[in-house]
């Protein structure tokens, strides 16, 4: 017997975990939860491994029918979720009973919600991960890269959990206008002086042409002395600038190598926050060096140690 059935899925809901590693040299992308911070908290509330499989729900449009009693946890965006008719706030665990309907409508704050289940949702691991990558036909419920579809059956393995309460001060403020940290990369010196000023002193708008491969930012036109480079490995969060001068932040489902010059790469924390920005949001970029970013990330990870 399954634990839940997908009553409908009209937007994009998919199984994600920490991603696929050790296979980048084969051209296989990383995948994994875009806002990994919210995934960590959702799993933490149930005492799961922090990267246990969760459902990443983008923008809403999902209804799940519960077929078994259990305890779930929700983190990330407020997608106006309801359990039957009762509103559900994110950043909490909650009990479901057989016969109840769990619905995600549309964004009120943020873009992606993460639903965790005891022990993690079950999927078919491919190359060490259940992360759904549609473009590569890898991962997900059946291992074929498909997002959740109406009629899909979901399951989890864990038994009784003692849910943990998330401390109020840990709840991220998706509405805050904190800049996104960018670790400056080797090619930054190839950009024109004015462009370097513009990168870090302008508002950038999250474009509608954005997905799990990359988010386009629009703003002042950036100029680089290099039209292109010999293709090389692309890290998570790389900020590349194609000849149109408008940067693209490369994300979990990016191509593994590419040939546009780069400013550097967003920190993992900045990538997670970008994952909660709806098209039209404004963001700012702040330059940091690798060492200080590393120290900040270590401090951040202390939250779960």
């Amino acid at each position: 017997m399954s634990a839940m059935t997908v009553d409908y899925s009209r937007s994009l809901a998919m199984l994600q975990d920490g991603g696929r590693f050790g296979v980048r040299h084969l051209g296989v992308t990383q995948g994994g939860a875009f806002d990994w911070l919210s995934m960590y908290w959702a799993n933490w509330m149930l005492g799961n491994a922090l990267d246990a499989p969760v459902i990443e729900i983008t923008l809403g449009g999902l209804r799940l029918a519960c077929e078994r009693d259990g305890t779930l946890a929700l983190a990330g965006a407020d997608l106006q979720a309801t359990l039957d008719d009762r509103p559900l706030q994110p950043w909490r665990s909650f009990s479901v009973r057989r016969g109840q309907l769990l619905t995600f409508a549309q964004p009120r704050l943020g873009a992606r919600a993460y639903l965790a289940a005891p022990g993690g949702f079950e999927g078919e691991p491919v190359l060490g991960s259940v992360a759904t990558v549609v473009r590569e036909s890898l991962g997900g419920l059946r291992g074929d890269g498909q997002p959740l579809r109406t009629g899909d059956r979901l399951n989890w393995n864990g038994t009784d959990v003692v849910p943990r309460q998330l401390p109020e001060e840990q709840i991220p403020d998706f509405g805050a206008l904190r800049p996104l940290d960018l670790v400056i990369g080797a090619q930054i010196g190839q950009f024109a002086g004015q462009s370097l000023y513009d990168v870090f002193n302008s508002d950038w708008t999250v474009d509608t042409r954005s997905d799990r491969m990359g988010v386009r930012l629009t703003g002042p036109q950036l100029r680089c002395s290099l039209p292109g480079i010999v293709s090389e490995g692309i890290p998570l969060g790389a900020v590349q600038v194609p000849p149109d001068g408008q940067p693209i932040v490369l994300l979990n489902d990016r191509q593994t190598i590419g040939g546009y010059p780069r400013l550097g790469a967003l920190t993992p924390e900045a990538v997670a926050r970008l994952g909660q920005c709806l098209p039209g949001s404004r963001v700012r970029l702040r330059p940091v060096v690798q060492r200080s970013a590393e120290l900040a990330q270590q401090r951040l990870l202390l939250n779960w140690s």
Partner: protein
């Protein structure tokens, strides 16, 4: 060769060995990859080789960026080109035909050759696998004869059939899975290039060599190829 180490991300460094694409880079890149893997050990998360560089993604929970730089510097201290310079040679059968290779005639026309001469040229040399990327198991190979060099389609196709063999500038490749694509298609191989149930997953690895061998439609079908040609090719060249 003037190796340098560059910052790529919070937990990624890039070892740059060369400035330009050259078949002679490959033995050095392979040797460097092996040394990096040995020096980093379990701290290595991913290693992404490309034409002139190696990107090293290390585990920042066990290693600082300073330690990673030291390791990387050690990896090329006494670097020598891989002795087995040639890598594995793969013979890949290809059914060259306009029905599965809609740009075969176009390439012939541009080069002032017949389609048959294009096929002979494409099969005449061993190609080096420079890098894998774009999609799982997609191997960038080269270099094709100068006359066959053809720029990518202005408008990429929305769907290219799995096994399609194409040319872009002086590189050649075969699409392991159905995907969008902008390369000039000249034929199709029945060989499965990426299979996550196979040991090693990808048939081709950076540093390997590939020789294409022409087969006919009957041979293509015999080897398990899907010749329902146009079905999976959509959106023609602009």
């Amino acid at each position: 060769m003037k190796p340098s180490i560059e910052v790529s991300a919070i937990d990624c460094l890039t070892l740059r060995l060369f400035d330009v694409i050259d078949e002679r880079n490959m033995p050095w890149l392979r040797a460097a990859g092996e040394k990096v893997a040995a020096v980093f050990g379990p701290a290595l998360i991913d290693l992404v080789p490309s034409y002139t560089t190696l990107m090293v993604h290390y585990d920042m929970s066990v290693m600082t960026s300073t330690q990673a730089r030291t390791c990387l510097a050690r990896a090329f201290e006494s670097l020598e080109a891989a002795e087995d310079a040639s890598g594995t040679l793969h013979r890949i059968p290809v059914w060259y035909d306009p029905s599965v290779g809609p740009e075969l005639e176009l390439i012939a026309e541009r080069a002032g050759l017949t389609a048959q001469q294009v096929i002979e040229s494409h099969c005449a040399r061993d190609y080096q696998v420079f890098a894998l990327g774009f999609a799982p198991g997609f191997a960038f190979m080269g270099l094709v004869e100068e006359r066959l060099a053809t720029p990518r389609l202005k408008t990429p196709r929305k769907r290219v059939a799995a096994g399609s063999v194409g040319i872009a500038d002086r590189q050649t490749a075969a699409y392991p899975l159905q995907s969008p694509g902008g390369w000039n298609l000249i034929g199709r191989t029945p060989v499965q290039l990426f299979d996550y149930q196979r040991d090693g997953y990808s048939l081709l690895r950076p540093g390997d060599r590939v020789r294409f061998e022409p087969i006919d439609r009957a041979g293509f079908r015999r080897l398990g190829g899907d010749d329902t040609a146009q079905a999976a090719i959509e959106g023609t060249a602009a």
